[in-house]
């Protein structure tokens, strides 16, 4: 470690101390920014001081949960882990997390898709886990083709990184196909059986990433994921390295068997939360953990004690009412949340909160791609609209055939629900910048957070 990077680390550490102790602020990014300004190579310098392998998790939806489950499992195995838990997933956030645990055994980092081009060449992780690719925050991230190009370039700049990706997602496999051509090693996971779930809308184009023909599916699990093949060329769901079978998805949670590389017999994984997308997230975390040497019982034990407190499927109780908070920031995420709501057979209320801050994407056109129409027939459903774009949500609901009043806060939404029985839960679904205020409010008014 040279003088400059020592100085960078020192300044980064000092900034972190100052933010925490003097300003009482979160130190998830700023120390990294300062360290990177002093030494642009600080990530690679710090990476060289890690004791073992590192893993980067990216993908449009589910990366924070997957990354945190993975990091918790690796820690449960007794190793030390540098991890950007709070989801600061650009290069500065990665640098800050590395500074926090200089010399940890492993780095487990979530990366924004477009930031992989800065993070991979510096961190040179042993594995990149790519979960899925959906439309998200289009005005910032550009078109999905551009996101794919960036990930392919990032892998090319880190040739020893193995890509571990979802074989069921044609868009991920488009990336994998191009990366493999360029010499990247590729491993895949997926669901190896038809889950026979009610079909959701496919917001992404289901077209062959090689020849453009419309893909055919033996079955779909959700969105564009499933057992796909191109009728015109040999682009298809690959022979999976890890397969989920005997999958069960319900209100009580998910469970499935994983078989494949490294396992003589199938391993059961179960969690008390989720939906079909969670099967993929947990499978990715399980695979990542086993690649870092975590055994299956340790992974399951760690998962059993994993209680998300980051607003992702977090449960609260307010005035005796069950309140479920979750992030929903793009059409696929929202559609999956609607599936979760429908798996809950109680009559319910929902508060949809949409902001259009920079971090959300200023453009909220995507709410018209969400299949809210599926909720129109729900008996007893009460919907409230919130956020800076509450009026847009209200109009969207009107055209879905769902009357919705506007509520200015979670408390106001709960107040509006006061006439419906207290055993009807309230689902609070928000996009990115609306999540933290909603969480803070629920922590303030709730009778203790539960999981």
């Amino acid at each position: 470690m040279g003088l400059r990077s020592s100085l960078a680390c020192g300044l980064g550490g000092l900034t972190r101390w100052g933010l925490r102790n003097v300003l009482h602020r979160s130190a998830s990014q700023m120390p990294g920014r300062i360290a990177m300004a002093v030494d642009p190579d600080v990530i690679s310098d710090l990476a060289s001081r890690l004791g073992g392998d590192s893993v980067v998790v990216c993908g449009t939806n589910g990366k924070t949960t997957t990354n945190n489950v993975l990091a918790a499992a690796v820690e449960a195995s007794g190793a030390t882990v540098a991890c950007n838990h709070a989801g600061a997933n650009m290069a500065a956030g990665v640098a800050a997390a590395l500074l926090e645990d200089v010399g940890a055994d492993h780095a487990v980092m979530e990366a924004d898709e477009l930031s992989t081009i800065h993070i991979l060449p510096a961190l040179k992780p042993r594995y990149l886990i790519l979960l899925n690719l959906f439309r998200d925050q289009l005005d910032r991230a550009g078109e999905i083709d551009h996101v794919a190009d960036v990930i392919v370039s990032a892998l090319a700049a880190s040739p020893d990184t193995t890509l571990v990706t979802c074989g069921d997602d044609p868009l991920c496999m488009g990336v994998a196909w191009r990366a493999r051509e360029a010499g990247t090693r590729v491993l895949t996971f997926g669901v190896a059986e038809d889950l026979r779930l009610p079909a959701d809308r496919v917001p992404e184009a289901r077209f062959c990433q090689r020849c453009g023909a419309e893909l055919s599916y033996e079955y779909r699990t959700y969105a564009q994921l499933g057992a796909f093949s191109c009728p015109k060329c040999d682009f298809a769901r690959p022979e999976l390295d890890w397969r989920a079978t005997s999958v069960s998805v319900g209100r009580e949670g998910v469970s499935f068997d994983v078989s494949g590389a490294g396992f003589d017999s199938p391993v059961r994984v179960s969690a008390s939360f989720g939906g079909v997308y969670m099967v993929y997230n947990l499978m990715a975390a399980f695979v990542g953990a086993s690649l870092l040497g975590v055994d299956a019982p340790t992974f399951q034990r760690s998962l059993d004690s994993y209680h998300p407190e980051n607003g992702r499927l977090q449960h609260f109780r307010v005035g005796g009412r069950d309140v479920v908070l979750n992030l929903a920031k793009n059409p696929t995420g929202f559609n999956q949340n609607i599936s979760l709501m429908q798996a809950d057979d109680r009559p319910k209320a929902a508060f949809f909160v949409i902001n259009d801050d920079y971090n959300d994407g200023r453009d909220i056109s995507w709410i018209w791609d969400v299949d809210f129409e599926r909720l129109a027939d729900e008996e007893g459903l009460v919907v409230l609209a919130g956020g800076h774009r509450a009026n847009d949500v209200q109009v969207r609901m009107r055209y879905a055939g769902i009357p919705a009043e506007i509520a200015g806060s979670v408390s106001a939404a709960l107040e509006a629900c006061s006439t419906i029985p207290v055993d009807h839960p309230l689902y609070v679904l928000t996009n990115y910048s609306a999540l933290w205020p909603a969480k803070a409010e629920l922590e303030r008014i709730g009778e203790g957070s539960e999981s």
Partner: protein, 247 residues
């Protein structure tokens, strides 16, 4: 007057659906149904041979460059029929990438791609991309038209082609002339992308009225309770006119 039926053709929804474009078709359908008129939606897919003879309103959305290219090639085969539809007063709404297709040509990278030539305009490129909220004053809407634009293209209208309106906030066709979109016969082209119609019920009703006039000789529409739509419109107009930071 009620009990009338309009047929709306959604052109290539699986390719041109970049920004919630389908919301426009939903709005047209609902606003007919709420008036006890009927709406039949015909989706035109790749490989279909679109026929415009029974169509009242055609909608074409935006897509990525690759998808827009596929659509343009496909539609060029139908250029004669499309031209006849437009010249006969058929209603055509084209947003974003679809708007660019209306003209003589547009640029994909450095390559000039032949467009449908339905309206006298052409599109070249400029930097930077023109991105952000937009408000447009237009004769086809009692309220300013609000929405979002995101385009690298700069569209230039031919002599005498009427713009859809004047930019109150945002960039419009080229970021220079202060003009946004185009109006030609019953064609509306605009960079206000994705769900143009939900917050701009005046535009939706303008299209419906033109189509009803052409099919039934009477374009009168019963008023609807547009409280939610107009509130959503006003919130954005007020915000933009108060000087939201442009991107």
């Amino acid at each position: 007057m009620s009990g009338r039926t309009l047929t709306v053709a959604h052109l290539f929804p699986e390719l041109l659906n970049l920004y919630g474009d389908g919301g426009n078709v939903l709005v047209l359908r609902k606003r007919l149904e709420w008036r006890h008129d009927a709406c039949e939606v015909v989706e035109c897919h790749v490989g279909d041979r679109p026929s415009f003879s029974g169509i009242d309103i055609a909608f074409i959305g935006g897509g990525s460059d690759r998808e827009q290219r596929i659509v343009c090639e496909r539609l060029l085969d139908e250029r004669d029929e499309l031209t006849a539809f437009v010249e006969d007063g058929g209603v055509l709404l084209a947003v974003c990438g679809g708007y660019q297709l209306l003209g003589h040509s547009y640029l994909m990278g450095d390559e000039e791609v032949t467009g449908l030539g339905l309206v006298d305009l052409y599109t070249d490129r400029g930097a930077p991309r023109l991105i952000g909220n937009v408000a447009v004053e237009s004769r086809i809407s009692p309220q300013p038209i609000v929405g979002y634009e995101n385009h690298g293209g700069r569209t230039h209208l031919g002599e005498g082609v009427e713009p859809m309106g004047r930019v109150l906030f945002g960039h419009g066709n080229d970021g220079v002339t202060g003009e946004e979109g185009c109006l030609y016969k019953n064609v509306v082209g605009t960079y206000v992308h994705g769900p143009l119609l939900p917050k701009n019920p005046g535009v939706a009703d303008h299209l419906l009225s033109c189509a009803l006039e052409r099919r039934y000789g009477d374009g009168t529409l019963e008023p609807l309770d547009d409280e939610a739509e107009l509130a959503a419109n006003k919130v954005m107009v007020d915000r933009l006119m108060a000087g939201e930071e442009a991107e």
